[in-house]
Symmetry: D2
Subunit: 93 residues, 4 copies
Protein backbone atom coordinates (compact mmCIF):
# COMPACT_ATOMS: atom_id res chain seq x y z
CA UNK A 1 0.00 0.00 0.00
CA UNK A 2 1.56 3.29 -1.07
CA UNK A 3 2.48 5.95 1.49
CA UNK A 4 -0.08 8.44 0.24
CA UNK A 5 -3.06 6.45 1.47
CA UNK A 6 -4.03 8.95 4.16
CA UNK A 7 -4.11 11.99 1.91
CA UNK A 8 -5.38 10.17 -1.16
CA UNK A 9 -8.59 12.19 -1.23
CA UNK A 10 -6.62 15.41 -1.04
CA UNK A 11 -4.49 14.37 -4.05
CA UNK A 12 -7.59 13.39 -6.02
CA UNK A 13 -9.30 16.68 -5.23
CA UNK A 14 -6.26 18.64 -6.38
CA UNK A 15 -5.92 16.58 -9.57
CA UNK A 16 -9.59 17.14 -10.42
CA UNK A 17 -9.02 20.89 -10.00
CA UNK A 18 -5.96 20.63 -12.27
CA UNK A 19 -8.03 18.72 -14.85
CA UNK A 20 -10.50 21.62 -14.77
CA UNK A 21 -7.66 24.10 -15.22
CA UNK A 22 -6.40 22.20 -18.28
CA UNK A 23 -9.92 22.35 -19.74
CA UNK A 24 -9.87 26.07 -18.93
CA UNK A 25 -6.65 26.38 -20.96
CA UNK A 26 -8.42 24.80 -23.94
CA UNK A 27 -11.28 27.28 -23.58
CA UNK A 28 -8.76 30.15 -23.47
CA UNK A 29 -7.18 28.98 -26.74
CA UNK A 30 -10.58 28.40 -28.35
CA UNK A 31 -11.72 31.93 -27.49
CA UNK A 32 -8.44 33.50 -28.69
CA UNK A 33 -7.28 34.75 -25.29
CA UNK A 34 -4.08 36.79 -25.19
CA UNK A 35 -0.94 34.57 -25.36
CA UNK A 36 0.58 36.00 -22.18
CA UNK A 37 -2.58 35.25 -20.18
CA UNK A 38 -2.48 31.65 -21.41
CA UNK A 39 1.21 31.43 -20.42
CA UNK A 40 0.43 32.77 -16.94
CA UNK A 41 -2.25 30.12 -16.53
CA UNK A 42 0.16 27.39 -17.76
CA UNK A 43 2.65 28.48 -15.08
CA UNK A 44 -0.13 28.21 -12.50
CA UNK A 45 -1.18 24.69 -13.57
CA UNK A 46 2.47 23.58 -13.59
CA UNK A 47 2.87 24.90 -10.05
CA UNK A 48 -0.25 23.02 -8.95
CA UNK A 49 1.11 19.79 -10.47
CA UNK A 50 4.46 20.28 -8.74
CA UNK A 51 2.49 20.76 -5.50
CA UNK A 52 0.89 17.32 -5.89
CA UNK A 53 4.36 15.93 -6.66
CA UNK A 54 5.85 17.46 -3.50
CA UNK A 55 2.98 16.04 -1.43
CA UNK A 56 3.60 12.57 -2.84
CA UNK A 57 7.35 12.92 -2.26
CA UNK A 58 6.74 13.90 1.37
CA UNK A 59 4.63 10.84 2.02
CA UNK A 60 6.96 8.60 0.06
CA UNK A 61 9.99 9.56 2.18
CA UNK A 62 7.90 9.54 5.36
CA UNK A 63 6.59 6.01 4.80
CA UNK A 64 8.19 3.95 2.02
CA UNK A 65 11.79 5.14 2.39
CA UNK A 66 11.70 4.84 6.17
CA UNK A 67 10.05 1.43 6.20
CA UNK A 68 12.56 0.13 3.69
CA UNK A 69 15.40 1.48 5.84
CA UNK A 70 14.01 -0.24 8.91
CA UNK A 71 13.76 -3.60 7.13
CA UNK A 72 17.06 -3.64 5.31
CA UNK A 73 19.85 -1.08 4.88
CA UNK A 74 20.49 -1.87 1.22
CA UNK A 75 16.79 -1.72 0.43
CA UNK A 76 16.70 1.67 2.22
CA UNK A 77 19.60 2.98 0.14
CA UNK A 78 17.92 1.86 -3.07
CA UNK A 79 14.73 3.69 -2.06
CA UNK A 80 16.66 6.92 -1.39
CA UNK A 81 18.33 6.73 -4.82
CA UNK A 82 14.96 6.13 -6.46
CA UNK A 83 13.38 9.11 -4.65
CA UNK A 84 16.26 11.46 -5.56
CA UNK A 85 16.06 10.33 -9.19
CA UNK A 86 12.34 11.24 -9.11
CA UNK A 87 13.22 14.71 -7.77
CA UNK A 88 15.79 15.08 -10.58
CA UNK A 89 13.04 14.34 -13.12
CA UNK A 90 10.76 16.96 -11.52
CA UNK A 91 13.60 19.52 -11.65
CA UNK A 92 14.18 18.84 -15.34
CA UNK A 93 10.50 19.06 -16.24
CA UNK B 1 -6.10 38.12 -32.96
CA UNK B 2 -3.43 36.26 -30.95
CA UNK B 3 -0.25 35.04 -32.61
CA UNK B 4 -1.05 31.37 -32.09
CA UNK B 5 -3.89 31.34 -34.59
CA UNK B 6 -2.09 29.14 -37.11
CA UNK B 7 -1.18 26.39 -34.68
CA UNK B 8 -4.30 26.67 -32.56
CA UNK B 9 -5.41 23.14 -33.43
CA UNK B 10 -2.02 21.79 -32.46
CA UNK B 11 -2.23 23.49 -29.03
CA UNK B 12 -5.77 22.18 -28.50
CA UNK B 13 -4.73 18.65 -29.44
CA UNK B 14 -1.82 18.76 -27.00
CA UNK B 15 -3.99 20.18 -24.20
CA UNK B 16 -6.59 17.43 -24.72
CA UNK B 17 -3.82 14.85 -24.42
CA UNK B 18 -2.61 16.59 -21.23
CA UNK B 19 -6.18 16.53 -19.86
CA UNK B 20 -6.20 12.77 -20.47
CA UNK B 21 -2.85 12.43 -18.69
CA UNK B 22 -4.23 14.30 -15.65
CA UNK B 23 -7.19 11.90 -15.60
CA UNK B 24 -4.64 9.08 -15.85
CA UNK B 25 -2.92 10.48 -12.75
CA UNK B 26 -6.23 10.33 -10.87
CA UNK B 27 -6.65 6.70 -11.93
CA UNK B 28 -3.10 5.93 -10.73
CA UNK B 29 -3.89 7.37 -7.29
CA UNK B 30 -7.27 5.60 -7.15
CA UNK B 31 -5.66 2.25 -7.91
CA UNK B 32 -2.84 2.81 -5.38
CA UNK B 33 -0.01 2.93 -7.90
CA UNK B 34 3.53 3.22 -6.55
CA UNK B 35 4.39 6.83 -5.53
CA UNK B 36 7.51 7.00 -7.70
CA UNK B 37 5.56 5.97 -10.80
CA UNK B 38 3.02 8.73 -10.11
CA UNK B 39 5.89 11.23 -9.67
CA UNK B 40 7.43 10.15 -12.99
CA UNK B 41 4.09 10.71 -14.70
CA UNK B 42 3.73 14.14 -13.03
CA UNK B 43 7.15 15.13 -14.42
CA UNK B 44 5.98 14.01 -17.86
CA UNK B 45 2.73 16.04 -17.73
CA UNK B 46 4.66 19.09 -16.48
CA UNK B 47 7.05 18.74 -19.43
CA UNK B 48 4.12 18.50 -21.85
CA UNK B 49 2.60 21.69 -20.37
CA UNK B 50 5.92 23.52 -20.65
CA UNK B 51 6.01 22.38 -24.28
CA UNK B 52 2.68 24.11 -24.97
CA UNK B 53 4.03 27.18 -23.15
CA UNK B 54 7.17 27.26 -25.30
CA UNK B 55 5.06 26.96 -28.45
CA UNK B 56 2.91 29.90 -27.37
CA UNK B 57 6.00 31.92 -26.47
CA UNK B 58 7.50 31.25 -29.91
CA UNK B 59 4.40 32.52 -31.68
CA UNK B 60 4.02 35.43 -29.30
CA UNK B 61 7.53 36.73 -30.00
CA UNK B 62 7.20 35.92 -33.70
CA UNK B 63 3.96 37.88 -34.13
CA UNK B 64 2.84 40.11 -31.25
CA UNK B 65 6.26 41.33 -30.08
CA UNK B 66 7.41 42.03 -33.63
CA UNK B 67 4.22 43.75 -34.71
CA UNK B 68 4.30 45.97 -31.64
CA UNK B 69 7.94 46.86 -32.38
CA UNK B 70 7.06 47.80 -35.93
CA UNK B 71 4.23 50.07 -34.84
CA UNK B 72 5.89 51.85 -31.93
CA UNK B 73 9.24 51.40 -30.17
CA UNK B 74 7.87 51.92 -26.67
CA UNK B 75 5.02 49.51 -27.30
CA UNK B 76 7.63 47.02 -28.55
CA UNK B 77 9.71 47.40 -25.39
CA UNK B 78 6.65 46.88 -23.20
CA UNK B 79 5.85 43.66 -25.09
CA UNK B 80 9.39 42.35 -24.57
CA UNK B 81 9.19 43.02 -20.83
CA UNK B 82 5.83 41.30 -20.66
CA UNK B 83 7.15 38.23 -22.53
CA UNK B 84 10.26 37.95 -20.32
CA UNK B 85 8.08 38.26 -17.19
CA UNK B 86 6.02 35.34 -18.53
CA UNK B 87 9.21 33.29 -19.00
CA UNK B 88 10.21 34.15 -15.42
CA UNK B 89 6.86 32.78 -14.18
CA UNK B 90 7.41 29.55 -16.16
CA UNK B 91 10.91 29.19 -14.66
CA UNK B 92 9.55 29.60 -11.12
CA UNK B 93 6.70 27.13 -11.62
CA UNK C 1 27.85 43.76 -30.97
CA UNK C 2 25.57 41.83 -28.61
CA UNK C 3 22.37 43.37 -27.30
CA UNK C 4 23.53 43.41 -23.70
CA UNK C 5 26.13 46.12 -24.28
CA UNK C 6 24.29 48.76 -22.26
CA UNK C 7 23.84 46.68 -19.14
CA UNK C 8 27.11 44.81 -19.46
CA UNK C 9 28.43 46.24 -16.18
CA UNK C 10 25.28 45.19 -14.40
CA UNK C 11 25.66 41.58 -15.67
CA UNK C 12 29.33 41.53 -14.64
CA UNK C 13 28.53 42.85 -11.17
CA UNK C 14 25.86 40.19 -10.69
CA UNK C 15 28.16 37.42 -11.95
CA UNK C 16 30.93 38.52 -9.56
CA UNK C 17 28.44 38.33 -6.70
CA UNK C 18 27.41 34.86 -7.88
CA UNK C 19 31.09 33.82 -8.00
CA UNK C 20 31.35 34.95 -4.37
CA UNK C 21 28.24 32.94 -3.48
CA UNK C 22 29.75 29.82 -5.07
CA UNK C 23 32.90 30.33 -2.98
CA UNK C 24 30.59 30.76 0.02
CA UNK C 25 29.05 27.37 -0.79
CA UNK C 26 32.53 25.82 -0.72
CA UNK C 27 33.15 27.42 2.69
CA UNK C 28 29.82 26.03 3.94
CA UNK C 29 30.81 22.50 2.89
CA UNK C 30 34.33 22.89 4.34
CA UNK C 31 32.93 23.97 7.70
CA UNK C 32 30.34 21.16 7.76
CA UNK C 33 27.27 23.37 7.57
CA UNK C 34 23.89 21.69 7.80
CA UNK C 35 22.84 20.11 4.46
CA UNK C 36 19.52 21.95 4.30
CA UNK C 37 21.24 25.33 4.72
CA UNK C 38 23.58 24.47 1.85
CA UNK C 39 20.57 23.45 -0.28
CA UNK C 40 18.80 26.75 0.50
CA UNK C 41 21.90 28.65 -0.58
CA UNK C 42 22.12 26.55 -3.80
CA UNK C 43 18.51 27.50 -4.61
CA UNK C 44 19.43 31.15 -4.06
CA UNK C 45 22.50 31.01 -6.37
CA UNK C 46 20.44 29.21 -9.03
CA UNK C 47 17.81 31.95 -8.83
CA UNK C 48 20.51 34.63 -9.20
CA UNK C 49 21.90 32.85 -12.30
CA UNK C 50 18.42 32.61 -13.81
CA UNK C 51 18.07 36.34 -13.14
CA UNK C 52 21.15 37.06 -15.27
CA UNK C 53 19.73 34.74 -17.93
CA UNK C 54 16.39 36.58 -17.98
CA UNK C 55 18.22 39.91 -18.28
CA UNK C 56 20.19 38.63 -21.26
CA UNK C 57 17.04 37.20 -22.83
CA UNK C 58 15.27 40.55 -22.47
CA UNK C 59 18.07 42.40 -24.25
CA UNK C 60 18.43 39.68 -26.85
CA UNK C 61 14.77 39.89 -27.88
CA UNK C 62 14.78 43.69 -27.59
CA UNK C 63 17.79 44.12 -29.88
CA UNK C 64 19.00 41.05 -31.82
CA UNK C 65 15.62 39.45 -32.56
CA UNK C 66 14.07 42.77 -33.57
CA UNK C 67 16.99 43.87 -35.73
CA UNK C 68 17.02 40.53 -37.51
CA UNK C 69 13.26 40.82 -38.12
CA UNK C 70 13.70 44.27 -39.60
CA UNK C 71 16.42 43.11 -41.97
CA UNK C 72 14.90 39.87 -43.17
CA UNK C 73 11.80 37.93 -42.19
CA UNK C 74 13.45 34.50 -42.41
CA UNK C 75 16.41 35.70 -40.37
CA UNK C 76 13.92 37.05 -37.82
CA UNK C 77 12.13 33.70 -37.60
CA UNK C 78 15.42 31.88 -37.10
CA UNK C 79 16.30 34.24 -34.23
CA UNK C 80 12.96 33.60 -32.53
CA UNK C 81 13.46 29.84 -32.75
CA UNK C 82 16.96 30.19 -31.34
CA UNK C 83 15.73 32.33 -28.43
CA UNK C 84 12.89 29.92 -27.58
CA UNK C 85 15.32 26.98 -27.69
CA UNK C 86 17.49 28.88 -25.18
CA UNK C 87 14.46 29.35 -22.90
CA UNK C 88 13.75 25.61 -23.20
CA UNK C 89 17.30 24.86 -22.01
CA UNK C 90 16.85 27.21 -19.02
CA UNK C 91 13.56 25.49 -18.13
CA UNK C 92 15.22 22.06 -18.20
CA UNK C 93 18.20 23.15 -16.12
CA UNK D 1 28.26 16.00 11.53
CA UNK D 2 26.37 16.47 8.26
CA UNK D 3 25.50 13.50 6.09
CA UNK D 4 27.69 14.61 3.21
CA UNK D 5 30.95 13.90 5.04
CA UNK D 6 31.95 11.00 2.80
CA UNK D 7 31.55 12.81 -0.49
CA UNK D 8 32.66 16.21 0.78
CA UNK D 9 35.66 16.26 -1.54
CA UNK D 10 33.46 15.45 -4.50
CA UNK D 11 31.12 18.37 -3.67
CA UNK D 12 34.09 20.73 -3.25
CA UNK D 13 35.59 19.64 -6.57
CA UNK D 14 32.28 20.24 -8.35
CA UNK D 15 31.81 23.64 -6.70
CA UNK D 16 35.34 24.71 -7.72
CA UNK D 17 34.50 23.74 -11.30
CA UNK D 18 31.24 25.75 -11.05
CA UNK D 19 33.21 28.74 -9.70
CA UNK D 20 35.44 28.48 -12.79
CA UNK D 21 32.35 28.32 -15.02
CA UNK D 22 30.97 31.51 -13.41
CA UNK D 23 34.31 33.24 -14.09
CA UNK D 24 34.02 31.92 -17.64
CA UNK D 25 30.61 33.59 -17.91
CA UNK D 26 32.19 36.90 -16.89
CA UNK D 27 34.85 36.45 -19.58
CA UNK D 28 32.12 35.73 -22.15
CA UNK D 29 30.33 38.98 -21.27
CA UNK D 30 33.62 40.94 -21.23
CA UNK D 31 34.50 39.70 -24.71
CA UNK D 32 31.00 40.39 -26.10
CA UNK D 33 30.07 36.80 -26.78
CA UNK D 34 26.73 36.13 -28.46
CA UNK D 35 23.79 36.32 -25.98
CA UNK D 36 22.48 32.86 -26.85
CA UNK D 37 25.87 31.26 -26.16
CA UNK D 38 25.96 32.96 -22.76
CA UNK D 39 22.41 31.70 -22.04
CA UNK D 40 23.41 28.14 -22.99
CA UNK D 41 26.35 28.33 -20.59
CA UNK D 42 24.07 29.71 -17.82
CA UNK D 43 21.76 26.70 -18.30
CA UNK D 44 24.79 24.43 -17.99
CA UNK D 45 26.03 26.07 -14.75
CA UNK D 46 22.50 25.93 -13.30
CA UNK D 47 22.34 22.21 -14.11
CA UNK D 48 25.72 21.65 -12.42
CA UNK D 49 24.50 23.48 -9.29
CA UNK D 50 21.30 21.41 -9.22
CA UNK D 51 23.54 18.32 -9.48
CA UNK D 52 25.37 19.31 -6.29
CA UNK D 53 21.98 19.96 -4.67
CA UNK D 54 20.68 16.52 -5.64
CA UNK D 55 23.85 14.92 -4.24
CA UNK D 56 23.38 16.73 -0.93
CA UNK D 57 19.70 15.78 -0.85
CA UNK D 58 20.58 12.12 -1.40
CA UNK D 59 23.00 12.09 1.51
CA UNK D 60 20.68 14.13 3.69
CA UNK D 61 17.81 11.64 3.32
CA UNK D 62 20.20 8.69 3.55
CA UNK D 63 21.73 9.86 6.83
CA UNK D 64 20.04 12.74 8.66
CA UNK D 65 16.41 11.90 7.88
CA UNK D 66 16.90 8.22 8.67
CA UNK D 67 18.83 8.81 11.88
CA UNK D 68 16.20 11.25 13.09
CA UNK D 69 13.48 8.70 12.31
CA UNK D 70 15.31 6.02 14.29
CA UNK D 71 15.67 8.26 17.34
CA UNK D 72 12.21 9.76 17.47
CA UNK D 73 9.21 9.60 15.14
CA UNK D 74 8.26 13.28 15.50
CA UNK D 75 11.85 14.34 14.88
CA UNK D 76 11.82 12.11 11.78
CA UNK D 77 8.63 13.73 10.47
CA UNK D 78 10.08 17.21 11.01
CA UNK D 79 13.19 16.22 9.01
CA UNK D 80 11.06 14.95 6.11
CA UNK D 81 9.10 18.21 6.00
CA UNK D 82 12.32 20.20 6.05
CA UNK D 83 13.81 18.14 3.20
CA UNK D 84 10.67 18.47 1.04
CA UNK D 85 10.61 22.23 1.67
CA UNK D 86 14.22 22.34 0.41
CA UNK D 87 13.18 20.45 -2.74
CA UNK D 88 10.33 22.97 -3.22
CA UNK D 89 12.87 25.82 -3.08
CA UNK D 90 15.05 24.07 -5.70
CA UNK D 91 12.01 23.61 -7.95
CA UNK D 92 11.13 27.29 -7.70
CA UNK D 93 14.67 28.47 -8.41
Amino acid sequence: MPGYQLTRDDHLKRLRRIEGQVRGLQAMIESDKYCIDVLTQIASVTKALQGVGLGLLDEHIRHCVREAAETDEHEGDAKVEEAVAAVARLLKS
